[in-house]
């Protein structure tokens, strides 16, 4: 989609939302994510059965008219379980990224703003934590707190902090070295004003992209923990946990393995595409 050079740019609809929708990855990502939010919001209206009710149908019924995605080993309707699972998945993504983002940004901004020994202390500890890798941090947290969905979310959220802190730190560092920032210090701006009015809005675009892509990582990590039995516990219709159970019936009922896997993959793909789209529509260099 190339714009002819003689078109008056001022007439083009402004704003990044338009650019986002016009990029193929952004548009597809946005549609997937919105669809997912819709499923999560209206799961109780859309789902034909109670997701946890056993014997809604026979056991191991292949996909059919009554049960579009089949039934599992307890005769529970897979479609309903997948629909309700979208709530858990979105909740996991939002809360885990929320934890990483708030704490990571606070650490990163303080380090970039205060400099000196505060910066050294914060960023060196971030480096150390970063080399632990997210998996190990998450696993250690679950080992301490015990397996549950709530603990898995906390674990994944905490595990992401070093990465968010690093990214926010480098984005904020770029801002603090710009002339306008030095000018406002010279003009006597208060630290609160510097951080809230100058630093925060300018690191926000970077952090929005990172957080969107981070939702994918968080969902994958939490589903992985549930898959191992260290996250969501029965009878929760969490997708990773559903996949784990499907391994025993891989011969009899391959759809039990296929469907939750596709659900996770599409969700993660949606956030990945949206993140890619956001990056190119928010980044002034790629915008050209």
């Amino acid at each position: 989609m190339s714009v002819a050079p003689d078109i008056d740019v001022s007439k083009a609809p402004p704003g990044f939302l338009w650019r986002l929708v016009r990029s193929p990855s952004g548009a597809i990502g946005l549609v997937i994510v919105l669809l997912l939010i819709f499923c999560a919001l209206f799961a109780d209206v859309l789902a034909p059965f109670d997701p946890n009710k056993m014997g809604s149908g026979g056991r191991f019924m292949p996909p059919s008219g009554d049960f579009p995605l089949g039934t599992d080993e307890f005769g529970r309707d897979m479609l309903s379980r997948i629909l309700f699972g979208s709530r858990i998945t979105l909740l996991v993504g939002a809360v885990a990224v929320g934890i990483s983002l708030t704490i990571g940004m606070t650490v990163g901004m303080i380090a970039a703003f205060r400099r000196g020994w505060v910066e050294a202390l914060l960023m060196r500890s971030t480096d150390v934590l970063f080399s632990f890798t997210e998996t190990l941090i998450a696993l250690s947290f679950v080992a301490v707190l015990g397996p549950s969905l709530q603990n898995a979310i906390i674990a994944v959220g905490v595990a992401g902090i070093p990465f968010y802190a690093r990214t926010c730190y480098s984005a904020a560092l770029v801002e603090t070295s710009k002339p306008y920032f030095e000018a406002s210090i010279a003009a006597g701006a208060q630290p609160t004003r510097l951080v809230l009015v100058h630093l925060l809005p300018n690191v926000m675009p970077t952090m929005i992209v990172v957080a969107t892509l981070g939702v994918s990582t968080a969902i994958l990590a939490a589903a992985g923990l549930s898959f191992l039995g260290l996250g969501a516990q029965p009878p929760t219709s969490e997708w990773g946990y559903m996949l784990a159970g499907s391994r025993d019936y891989i011969n009899r009922a391959p759809w039990l393995m296929t469907i939750p896997g596709i659900a996770i993959a599409i969700t993660v793909l949606g956030f990945n595409l949206l993140g890619d789209g956001l990056r190119s529509s928010l980044d002034p260099v790629e915008r050209k």
Binding site: V128, T133, T135, L136, L139, G229, G240, L243, I266, D276
Partner: protein, 307 residues
């Protein structure tokens, strides 16, 4: 070059040292009484036995003393005994660590072998249909959960076709887990290689070489490939850590007898000495690999080698 390396080694030592502290504190962060929790699953443990365990683990002493005891045993190569079975933790880990390392290395080999050429091809044909198709496959590959890919491969190759064994520890058993872990990381390598190669292709010296009429193939081989592969080498260090993390899940799918499977079992059984040993081993391996990769990078990059 030595300054560059010594900073890295210092950082690695610091990381391991902090791990030893965290690992000592870990058991105290457990809500409730860790000894009670550890023995909650085995019936018929008397209060005397529990006190005995508490003493032998040193949990009745102040935390700094516990740390000193832990470090004293650690330098002697003693990581304590497992709660179930009472075997030395170090032996249990050393028995299984080679399996995990073999898996991670095989997966790394597959990931680089597939990912790097794809990334290079995409960069070479930037903007073409080939590039777009390859990158769509790559983003789909990144989005696919590796535990699901594992199940799908298991279904096709082991169950449907019956070509490969479902689980076990022979060489044939390595194929599916390594493929699972390797394929899901190949996509990451493809994306990274592509952007790194494109960066180099836009450099002035490459444009100059092309402008003065050097054959494109020669420019690619001499100027682009070498410089473009450097970030990929750096990435390998980080990616190895991801492989070790991914191995935890993959080992469980294919019943591969590595430290990841051991760690998950230990979490279920609340066998804290094993968990402590696992975390320590994991970070030592990751740090050693990172330092090795940094050394390799220093040798490969003339800017660092000659500094």
């Amino acid at each position: 070059m030595w300054r560059f390396l010594s900073t890295r080694i210092l950082m690695g030592v610091l990381t391991i040292w902090i791990t030893t502290i965290l690992v000592t504190l870990l058991i105290h962060a457990v809500p409730g009484d860790p000894v009670q929790i550890m023995y909650a699953q085995s019936q018929g443990t008397t209060p005397e036995q529990i006190e005995e365990v508490r003493r032998s683990l040193g949990l009745d002493r102040p935390i700094p003393v516990q740390y000193a005891m832990f470090m004293e045993r650690l330098v002697q190569g003693d990581l304590g005994n497992t709660i179930r079975g009472g075997q030395p933790v170090l032996d249990v880990i050393m028995q299984r660590l080679p399996n995990t390392l073999v898996l991670a290395c095989a997966a790394m080999f597959i990931a680089v072998l597939i990912g790097v050429p794809i990334g290079f091809l995409a960069a070479y044909r930037k903007g073409s249909l080939t590039d777009i198709t390859l990158m769509i496959i790559a983003i789909a590959g990144i989005s696919m959960p590796h535990f699901w890919l594992g199940l799908v491969l298991l279904f096709f190759f082991a169950v449907e076709l019956g070509w490969l064994p479902v689980s076990g520890n022979g060489w044939l058993n390595l194929v599916l887990p390594a493929l699972t872990l390797g394929l899901s990381n190949a996509a990451i390598f493809a994306r990274l290689t592509r952007s790194s190669m494109i960066d180099v292709m836009n450099q002035d010296y490459v444009q100059t070489a092309l402008a003065k009429g050097l054959p494109r193939a020669l420019v690619l081989r001499r100027h682009v490939l070498r410089a473009g592969l450097l970030p990929v080498v750096t990435m390998m260090g980080l990616q190895f850590a991801f492989m070790m993390g991914g191995a935890i899940v993959v080992e469980n799918i294919f019943s591969w007898n590595g430290v990841g499977r051991m760690a998950v079992e230990a979490i279920f059984q609340r066998d804290y000495p094993i968990i402590q040993g696992f975390i320590l081993t994991f970070s030592v391996v990751v740090v050693l690999v990172a330092i090795t990769i940094d050394a390799l990078y220093a040798v490969l990059d003339p800017r660092i080698r000659r500094s």
